[in-house]
Symmetry: C2
Subunit: 437 residues, 2 copies
């Protein structure tokens, strides 16, 4: 570390070393090492073979939580409801408002089954069905977020998932009432106060007490991420999440203090979080930098924000809107805030972004909690190929093929030629049985 750490990096696309500096800034290796891998593998094996007993032992060891039976690590629906009813009115109403808006948005994502009939009577289609059971991992301790419970569970509920199982570690037995209240509101069926690789294993393989689920979603530390990667295939998983990030593009007309606070709201998550502002207005970037310096001492989480901004934050000056667009599509940000007069025009050119916050009023924080769209978003450039968590993550499709006698005869001729071309003659003969003379 330097003696005078920078508050935040300044870059310009005109710098000769811009590409290298941007690469360094964006670089993120979330890969776990061999030690983590083998420790996780041992826990997975243990839970697979010894079930509840292994989970109880691991919970004692890692979370310092004593239990003689799994039922002591299980919270009843009554307990969740009590947490909800016990909230201060203001919090309960805010949670209800958020849940209602999230539910309404996700209702629009529901795909429908479809089919069509061809001239010869053959019917083709696709049938959409929900998962039987979904597992939701909610981090415990300092990052126990009720909003994440809503964002993970409500899409599952809207999808029609039969049973939603939530796990949340409670190190030293510390329970977060807001998290339990959110679970009640989001229709979670079971809550187990377990975490780490042992919770992932319990959900993936099932134990005497924890029902085996079909898919596990939700973020966690490196042990949780490594365990999810290992059980992928046995169960479905969502993306392996990296640190959260935002890219803000400003046209120079947004209040610098608003932008500073928007960057802080990302940086306060943790020291690896990334907040980047891009503008073609250099004086505006100066003004935002001044606002950052001015407001930093007023933050509750000042130390975290300073660490995050100095390590991974940046103010980037570019030549114009086109260069800003090129940066957006190269970075493929998790959160993209377009703090400009006419965001629609830019949006049509954006190819990769998890969520796009349009205009000066749309702070990312509004979307994090209650605008409606999901806050579980692809990180570290994975918006190039993945999507926000959604109803579609809790459903799957089955192809439907119903050939008429005539259709089978026609298709049989084509299939026969292709199967013989692949030397799969039993395929060919199976098709040929359906050909009419």
């Amino acid at each position: 570390m330097s003696d005078n750490p920078v508050t935040i990096h300044r870059l310009s696309t005109a710098d000769t070393d811009f590409e290298r500096r941007l690469d360094d800034l964006l670089a993120w290796e979330g890969v776990s090492n061999d030690d983590v891998q083998s420790r996780v593998a041992a826990i997975l094996e243990d839970v697979k073979h010894r079930g509840d007993a292994a989970v109880i032992e691991a919970t004692r060891r890692f979370d310092r939580l004593e239990a003689s039976a799994m039922e002591e690590l299980c919270l009843s629906p009554h307990r969740l409801e009590a947490a909800f009813k016990g909230l201060p009115d203001e919090q309960r109403t805010a949670l209800e408002n958020a849940a209602e808006r999230i539910r309404r948005y996700h209702e629009r994502q529901k795909p429908t089954s479809w089919q069509y009939e061809e001239l010869d009577g053959t019917v083709l289609g696709q049938k959409v069905t929900p998962l039987d059971r979904a597992g939701i991992y909610v981090p415990g301790g300092k990052a126990a977020y009720p909003s994440s419970v809503l964002m993970n569970a409500i899409p599952a509920q809207v999808a029609g998932v039969g049973e939603i199982v939530m796990v949340v570690p409670t190190p030293d037995g510390v329970v977060n009432e807001l998290v339990l209240a959110a679970a009640h509101l989001a229709g979670v069926d079971h809550v187990f106060t377990i975490g780490g690789a042992q919770a992932v294993a319990a959900l993936a393989y099932g134990t005497e007490s924890v029902p085996r689920v079909d898919k596990i979603v939700g973020p966690g530390n490196i042990y949780v991420a490594t365990a999810k990667r290992a059980v992928f295939g046995q169960v479905g998983i969502d993306m392996i999440a990296g640190p959260s990030e935002i890219l803000v593009v400003s046209d120079g007309q947004t209040d610098p203090e608003w932008l500073a606070m928007d960057l802080f709201s990302q940086a306060e998550h943790d020291e690896d979080a990334q907040a980047i502002l891009v503008s073609w207005d250099g004086e505006h970037l100066d003004a935002v930098q001044a606002a950052i310096e001015r407001l930093l001492p007023t933050l509750d989480r000042e130390a975290i924000v300073r660490a995050s901004l100095s390590r991974r934050g940046a103010l980037i000056q570019c030549a114009d809107e086109d260069e800003a667009l090129a940066l957006i599509n190269r970075i493929a940000p998790e959160h993209l805030e377009l703090s400009v007069a006419e965001p629609e025009r830019l949006v049509s050119e954006v190819r990769h972004a998890g969520a796009i916050f349009m205009g000066r009023y749309t702070a990312e924080a509004l979307g994090d909690y209650c605008a409606g769209p999901n806050h579980v978003l692809p990180t570290s450039g994975t918006a190039r190929f993945s999507s926000p968590l959604g109803v579609y993550d809790f459903q799957k499709r089955s192809s439907l093929i119903h050939c008429s006698a005539e259709g089978a005869s026609t298709l049989g001729r084509t299939a026969s030629v292709l199967a013989r071309g692949e030397s799969l003659t039993a395929h060919a003969r199976s098709a040929e049985y359906r050909i009419r003379d």
Copy 2:
């Protein structure tokens, strides 16, 4: 092995050890061992750091293919077109018919972007965009299937993917003309004759010659599967495929020889493939078993089929239709053939299956080649949580949030309460800036 190996297992749901026997039959561990893991990790690192040179070396070593530069391992569009034009008329027409039907079906899968405006002027939506670049892994050697090229590349093409890059190993330089012709037809942009973990690495990281892709799809051996799992996160991947399987349900009225051949068409893939027939008609199962014995000696791939049926095949007698349905939903088969009079009624109760072939005329082989739906399907029970390969695998979504001044003010109040409940006060203050007095 017994001295008199069974041709195919007979099970009955009435057997006291039915559950255990079924579990044994279905068990499949596709997990690679530590040795494979470390060999794959070394190849990935090598390609990441040395690019083309590492790929060329690995190709020489594993595929016995000499090249002094990557361009010798690259096939031009002209070469693909020549392969297509050089096909016998019958094969070219069959390939064109199949491609046309596959394209038509997948066109129906295209999701559309949507948005809606709320009363206060806030706009919420979801924007759908294609991947920039997709990588398609096509196995070489004995399992080089042109139909798989169509099934993997056409959905990418329909999705609007900018560039489709195909890799196909050609051990000892043996090229499959049908595979190249299919690549031409399916709109593949680049073909590299490389395979294994080195090809996965080249696609995931990019080299001087191989463009980095956003997602890698397609089946491969254990090295390919291990490499895909390792690069997941860096790029998207499709499911890790296990051996192919079919579950046929017959009401006893389908010609036993048809059913025997349908089972063979699955079993001929490889010795790990699984073919299971379920019926509530015991005499019918006897008749199918007799047909199997009778037809087996007539098969080109008799040895593979015998091995597959005796190891993993089964004829299962159940009590009635309800028990058959319970078996379907428990097994969650890749292919489900409902060889019954009224398949529609059963289909409405099927919760998990990759593709459903309805009625006596709909042999799986018709769907494998040309009915239209995809033949890349979730195996080993993963139809519980995953879907056939589709257009949706080559697109991703971005959430859109555009708050009006009034909307931001309302949402700001809710977000502020929830953010303070999570002790994320920069989030709260960012939201509060947008609240109007």
